[in-house]
Each structure stands twice: as C-alpha cells, then as structure tokens.
Amino acid sequence: MRWILVLTIPLAACSKGPAADLPSIGEARSLGAEWALVNEQAAQGHLTPTYVETMRKQLRRQLQSGLASMTQPDSPYGDEARALLSEPDDASPEALRRHVRALKQIEDSLESA
Amino acid sequence: MKLGDPLKLVSQLLDLPILDKDGRWCGIVDDVELEGGPGKPTRVMALLVGPGAYEGRMPGFVFRLVRAVAGGRIVRVPVSEIANIASAVKLNCKAEAAGLHRTEDRARAWIPRWGAL
C-alpha cells in the first residue's frame, strides 16, 4: 500500500485537484489524530463514556463532510480518508495513527511540491 | 453650556443624547430646526428627534429603508425645553411632556412585570 502511495504521489502533486484538497487532507489527518487521542485516553479511563461517544460522533461527521468536499475523492488521499472512516468507533489508537501517518506523508509531499 | 451661548452645531449638538429632567434617556438629536438665513443671525429653534429627521443626512435609498422599518415620525422639541447642553442635552421637562416616550411606552406593553430581582 505504501509503495502505491509513493508511486502515485508525484503524479497527484502535478494536478490542480490535490492542491485544492490540501486543507481537507490536513483536516482528515488532524481528525484521525484526535480520534486516536480520544481512544487512547478512553482506554486509560481518563474520559467519561458520554464525552467519548459524542467526540467520536462529531469526529466521524466531520470526516464525512471533509471527504465529501474533496475534489478528487478517488485519489490515494481520498482512499486513505475512506479507510480511516471505515475503522470502528473503538479502533485501536495505533490503527488510526497508521492512517494519520499516511495522510501526513501525502500532505507533506504536496506542501513541498 | 447655557442657552444663548454660541455653539458648534455639529460637534456640540448634533447626535447628542437627550435626557429628560428625571435623567431618563429619551432620544438623540437627529436634526435641528434653524431660523435665519444667509447673512443673517441663525438661531436654533428646536431639536428634531425621530427617524423622519434622518432625511437629508443619509443617502435616499438608505432613508427609504429606515422609514420602511422604523417609520417617518419626527418629534419637535422647542429650544425653550432645553435646560443645558454638555455631554448630553438636558431637558427641563419630562420625556412624556416633550412627546419623546411614546415608542418606549408602546414597547412596555409587551414586557411582563414580574420575575426580575
């Protein structure tokens, strides 16, 4: 999967779509990271169940809205955002952070392009 | 400042708040009525208060919008009712006597008189 990303990033960086989607990619990355942080703290018993449930709902809704606003939803970053969305609510922080790292890689390479 | 003293209409009178003899807020000096003419002494005859007095002080289309929302009422307060002009115009009569509290009184009918400490 990572090799596919590495090969397609230069192609993606050349088109107008990815540049326009940069804010959405950053938002998805941050939302994924917030979700991972919430799940990590929940596992340590630091959060109330109500807070965890409401944060997960809001994060998921925001991710869906971000994905809907991407100009190229079928791009590698769109696939990554969709994969993040398909994770269960109580996904492990590490699983969520794998998606976050992938999105961060794409974000950084687009910013430096 | 006392009546009879010269005053700067724009910086010392126009758009000043008006307080009645009991210290209640009862409007803003929206315009003034003058007596006199070019080359003759000019005196302030009355203060004009109300949205109708905005005509001439703003673009026509804005005034028409204001009039549609707030009406075109003008209340004329004769200069004889003015006690003092400083940071506000102080009247020597009550707001009701000057015709300045009608809208406030109409609004009061909508407010229940209970519950407040």
Binding site: E27, E34, T50, Y51, M55 | L14, C26, G27, A88, P112
Partner: protein
C-alpha cells in the same frame, strides 16, 4: 477602593476573559506553531488593557457609553455603518458562543447539540431577566474561574518552561515556507481580533455606567483591566502551551472545540475533563451574555433608548426587546447547522474589520480634556492607543486576504 469589590472585579475579569474564539485559536495556534504565538496573545492583551482602561475611564468620568460617542463623533452615516458592522460581527460571535455551549453540553450530557443550544439560550435569557447587572457579570465570571484547571494542567505536564518563556519574545519562526508564513500571519491577526473583540469595550464601558462608576473608581478600573485581563490572558496562553506540548507532536490541530478539554483530561483524568468542560461552559456562557448585551447596548445607545440591566426589564422595554431578539437571532444562526468553528472564523474576521471604527472615537474622547478634564489620556495611554490603532488598522486590511490565501487558516 473596597478590597472585596476589587477582588471580585479582578476574578470576574479573569473568569470572563476566555471565550470560544480564544479557546479555539489558542489550541490550534499551539498545536501548529508550538510556543511561537504566545507573544501575540501577550501583545494583544496589552492592547485590550489599554482600550479597556480607556472605555472604563470614559464611563466613569464623561459618563458616556461607547455607542453614544461613536454616534456623536462619527456622525449619523458613518455611525450607522459602524453600528450595522458591529451588530453583524457581534451577532455572529454570539451565535458561535451559543453553538459552543450546545457542543459542550452535548459532551457533558449526550443530549442533542441543537436541543442543548436552545436550552442554553433559554437559561441565559432567564438569568438575564431575573438577575441585576452586577450578578449577571459576577455569576458567569466567577464560575468561569473553573478554567484555572487548564493552568494547573499545564504545570502538571511539565512543559519546557524555557521554551515557553521564549514564546513571549516577539519573533517570527525561521525556516517557514511561504504558505506557513501566511498561516502564521493569519493566526496573528485572528488572535489579535479574538482578544480585542469590540464587544468587550461596549460591554465593559456600559457596565461601568450600569454600576455608576465615578472618578473614585478609576483605580479599580485600572487594576481590573490590567491584573484581571492579564491573568485571564495567562489562561489562554496555558491552553496554547498545553496544545503545543500534547497536540502538536500527535499531529492534532484541534478541529472541534471539545478537544481542548483533553488538555485537562490527560494529566487529571475524568475530574480534569469535567472541570475543563464546566469551565469552558461557563466562560462561553458569560461571553454569550456579554455579546448579546453589548449588541443591545449598542442599539439602545445609538438611538437614545432607555437601557441597562440596573433597571427592571419593563423600565427599559426597547432595550429588553432588543436583547431578547438578538439572542433568538443568534440561536437561529446556530440552528442553521453552520459549524461552530466556521462561526468562530467569521466572527473573528468581521470583528477585526470593525475594530478601528470602535476604537477611534473611544480614543479621541478619552483624550478630550473638555470631557475628561484632568483624567484625559496621558503619554502612556496616548502612546499605546495610537500604536495599537495603527496595528489594528493594518490587521483589518490584511484580514480578508489572509483568510482567502490560507483557506481560513489551513495554509
């Protein structure tokens, strides 16, 4: 100077300093730029101290509320432009605060966000109806002191204090790309706007008249604005610094207002989380009340109506109807479903544009010996006032281009 009154005044100012905009921008600024924007918070706080002190002094000596001055100094046409612009910016700010309350109550209770926003407005309106001015200000300001949990949380996570202290030194980080520089500038403008919101001057000055301040209260005014706002600003800086320590390394740039509560949950667990959410709730509630009242003050003062919560609601009927209508309008905006974060950005954008029109008449009057006698602006107030006025004008010009170029701070 009554020590108890002074202490309560300072504590109210501290608890009432942070609102939803400062919460959001402090957390984002810290997570994206580390400690580099601390100096902007400190710098902006000096600005609000200067103008807050002026607005309180004008209330105490000239006994003139801000919007009377604006009408008198700018005239009807420009005054009306200022009134409409400030109403727009403050209504949007109020809607953001109402939305923020709805979100926080959703996190506390699990009840639907829109229902909680509506319930919040009902409770706020009831409190404004029942309580006289002093108690409205005190209740929300003192309960907002629960925000101190953020300062405690910062200490508990052992930040690098030397790097944090360096954040107070004005500088732009080196090695930033052009996009990141623009984003840094956007955050600078946004923080300046959020700290120096025009509604603060309207509310503070009108509050001084509500409390019948006179020249004997000038020292209270000076101490409240400097110590109170200064300590309040430290709370906002604590939120920024915790975000730098906890969110930045985790790739989090908080997209939700509720994320800030994690800063207290991480060191203190559920107790920290609940204290943070309650502190945020009351701080934002206080800001909702202030923005609504500031708007009602503006309209009533501009048109010369009876105004003030030192009167019973039926003694100032048009003023009462104004704040009720404005609260309902803010709720309506929140209920359109516009994201609270978007409302915060629009509020900050509109407010910085209105700021020059608000502060210029205030500064001119505070320096006018005809009104202020021996209490007119001296060299420090003049120097600070004009310096900040120039900076605010520059920020007002740069605000919209920066917003567009950075897609609202996203770079």
């Amino acid at each position: 100077m009554n020590p108890l009154e002074l202490t309560l005044g300072i504590m109210t100012a501290v608890g009432g300093f942070v609102d939803i905009s400062e919460l959001v921008f402090a957390a984002q600024a810290g997570s994206i730029f580390g400690y580099a924007l601390i100096w902007v918070f400190a710098f902006s706080t000096i600005g609000i101290m200067a103008f807050g002190e002026m607005s309180g002094r004008v209330a105490a000596v000239a006994k003139q509320p801000v919007f009377n001055l604006i009408r008198h100094r700018l005239g009807l046409k420009l005054g009306l432009v200022t009134l409409v612009a400030s109403l727009l910016s403050t209504v949007i700010t109020c809607a953001a605060e109402v939305g923020g309350m709805g979100l926080i109550l959703n996190h506390l209770t699990g009840a639907p966000y829109l229902l909680m926003a509506a319930a919040s407005v009902a409770v706020l309106m009831a409190s404004m109806w029942i309580l006289p001015f002093k108690w409205i200000e005190r209740v929300y300001g003192l309960l907002g002191l629960l925000m101190i949990v953020f300062a405690a949380a910062l200490v508990a996570i052992h930040p690098p204090w030397d790097r944090l202290a360096e954040g107070f030194v004005p500088r732009v980080p080196t090695g930033l790309s052009a996009k990141k520089l623009l984003q840094f500038a956007y955050f600078g403008v946004a923080i300046l706007s959020a700290v120096m919101f025009p509604y603060e001057a309207y509310f503070y000055s009108s509050g001084g008249i509500e409390e019948e301040w006179g020249p004997k209260d000038l020292l209270t005014n000076r101490v409240t604005t400097t110590v109170g706002f200064g300590l309040g600003s430290l709370l906002a800086i604590a939120i920024l610094a915790s975000a730098a320590q906890l969110f930045g390394p985790a790739n989090v740039a908080p997209e939700l207002p509720g994320s800030a509560a994690l800063e207290a949950a991480i060191p203190f667990g559920r107790t920290g989380l609940l204290l943070a959410l309650l502190g945020m709730l009351f701080a934002v509630a206080g800001a909702a009340v202030e923005t609504c009242m500031a708007n009602a003050y503006a309209v009533a003062q501009f048109f010369g109506w009876e105004w003030g919560r030192h009167k019973k609601p039926w003694e100032a009927p048009r003023f009462t109807l104004a704040w009720i209508a404005l609260f309902l309008l803010a709720l309506l905006i929140a209920m359109t479903g516009v994201e609270v974060m978007s409302l915060v950005e629009y509020a900050v954008l509109f407010s910085i544009i209105v700021l020059p029109l608000t502060y210029l008449p205030l500064m001119l009057l505070a320096g006018d010996k005809g009104y202020m006698r021996e209490h007119a602006n001296k060299w420090l107030a003049k120097g600070l006032g004009w310096t900040y006025f120039v900076i605010v004008c520059a920020a007002a010009i740069a605000a919209i281009p920066l917003y567009l170029l950075t897609s609202g701070g996203q770079a």
